[in-house]
Amino acid sequence: MKVLVTVKRAVDYSVKVRVKADNTQVDLNNVKMSINPFCEIAVEEALRLREAGVASEIVVVSIGPKQAQDQIRTALAMGADRGIWIDTGDTELNALGIARLLSRVVETEQPGLILLGKQAIDSDNNQTGQMLAALCDLPQATFASKVVVTGAQVVVTREIDGGLQTLELDLPAVITTDLRLNEPRYVKLPEIMKAKKKPLATTSPEQLGISLENTLSLLRVDPPTERSPGIRVENVEQLIEHLKHQAKVL
């Protein structure tokens, strides 16, 4: 079975971003970029499916400027077989456009399973997997914490409010990953060297026949309201005193 995995180039999870002075965006100059952590979990899950004899080929796709190839190379170094880069240059993308581009890749590649991260830690949208599933008319299981392929079906345990839900989907299907699905492996240097020789195809929205009109416009970006500085209390009595008489919450 062929598995298609999407990876997004996003700000590294350890970076605390700042808003630009002109309020147009956050400042990403000289900031460390990585594979979005949820996408990394998706790549890892595909690798485990291959190790379990379920997946035969793992294709990684990313959308974005040329630097997005770095994240494809990282996924290839983790063990994916080949990459597809959809070159969108500096175009501002939205989830619908991204899902439309990916739906064309699904059409061409005909994967048995599509794995995506549940959300990217930059836009925090949590949309692409669900939208791709709709466009391809495939079943979806979002926020997966366990994935078991059983022949022509996949059984997915999902993290929902209040607990866990298990669904069975017919393949092909779309799954989005949650944090506890797995712990991605570390990439070793020889694999990084080997990944440079793995095939990476380039395509574009034009070649895929998708026009990226945008119905969303980002008017401005502001820093969040800062909390006023708090105080240190010396002991438990003082804490209770403040909560009762200053904050008046107890």
Binding site: Y13, K16, V17, V19, V26, F38, A95, L96, A99, Q119, I121, D124, N126, Q127, G129, Q130, M131, L132, A133, A134, L135, L138, P139, Q140, T142, F143, S145, R158, E159, I160, D161, G162, G163, L164, Q165, E168, L169, D170, D178, L179, R180, T215, L216, S217, L218, L219, R220, V221, D222, P224, R227, G230, I231, R232, N235, V236, L239, L243, A247, V249
Partner: protein, 309 residues
């Protein structure tokens, strides 16, 4: 403007998040419909009809909707949506699973986690784990929004008298089957709606030690939360996780105990009114957002606090 709010329910009762979502909807217009989808959920429709401001409850009550699977419920939403200027869901796992699928069927862009309605087409939402707030204008003919419930006060649970109309169109889920559900049963208040939340982190050290957190929570009538580290370490179940990718809470008081305060955790609690941090590491980043910080060993401070309250 006509607005559709999709009710969060479990076939027997309306979840409180629906009332927060309705409060957001009321800022957009005064013709408010509520869609109740489920199986054997007539009682939910009655509850929804009694919410103030609701003109009509649309009830899709059928066995195929028992588990509200995205595959077929999205079709139903896409069928009804063109009658409305806005469709709102709470930004819960239910809403986030469903809304983007319906949006793609309609060919529109949904907006996730809306925290402020600026105008009928302009909304604010957090990005980058809440380290920035984006103001976004949406030009789609119907605007699909998931609403961060903590930033909209709930409407009262009674006072309305809406009519209930059935929706008879039935969509089956062809490729998705419900297998099972394990829901945590708790006598404690619901995490996202509690007035007080007591959360523990890696510093708590073990599942057994988490008993201290429960003890304090019960003294305060509080909900219990946890950091990702505590959940990953297996101290508590995943549904207690507070943070960027877990639950977002904004209680009157948030106790962060043995929590260092990673960006991802702060994203889920920094809108709390009063934040209390107890941590033995005086340099822990949690103290930068805490209103009251106590540098202390939690194993002595937490029992003492519980005893003296």
């Amino acid at each position: 403007m006509r607005i559709l709010v999709i009710a969060e329910n479990d076939n027997s009762s309306l979840r409180p998040a629906t009332r927060n979502t309705l409060s957001a909807a009321a800022r957009l217009g005064d013709e408010l419909d509520v869609l109740v989808v489920g199986s054997g959920c007539a009682e939910v429709a009655t509850q929804a009809a009694s919410l103030p401001g609701v003109s009509r409850v649309r009830l899709a009550d059928h066995a195929v909707y028992e588990h509200r699977l995205a595959e077929n419920v999205a079709r139903l939403v896409a069928l009804l949506a063109p009658d409305y200027s806005h469709v709102l869901v709470p930004a819960t796992t239910f809403g986030k699973d469903l809304l983007p699928r319906a949006a793609a069927l309609l060919g529109v862009n949904p907006l996730t986690d809306v925290v402020e309605i600026v105008t009928a087409d302009t909304f604010k939402r957090p990005i980058y784990a809440g380290n920035a707030i984006a103001t976004v204008q949406c030009l789609d003919p119907v605007k699909l929004l998931s609403v961060r419930t903590t930033t909209f006060d709930p409407v009262p649970d009674s006072g309305g008298d809406a009519r209930i109309e059935p929706v008879t169109t039935v969509f089956e889920a062809v490729h998705t089957r419900f297998v099972s559900e394990e829901l945590a049963r708790s006598e404690r208040p619901e995490l996202t709606a509690a007035r007080i939340v007591v959360s523990g982190g890696r510093g708590v050290g073990s599942a057994d030690n988490f008993g201290l957190i429960y003890q304090l929570a019960d003294r305060l009538g509080a909900a219990v939360g946890a950091s990702r580290a505590a959940v990953d370490a297996g101290y508590v179940d995943n549904d207690l996780q507070v943070g960027q990718t877990g639950k977002v809470v904004a209680p009157e008081v948030y106790f962060a105990i043995g929590i260092s305060g990673a960006i991802q955790h702060l994203a889920g609690m920094k809108d709390s009114r009063v934040i209390v941090a107890i941590n033995k590491d005086a340099d822990a980043p949690i103290f930068q957002v805490a209103d009251y910080g106590l540098v202390a060993d939690l194993f002595s401070a937490v029992p003492e606090l519980a005893a003296k309250l």
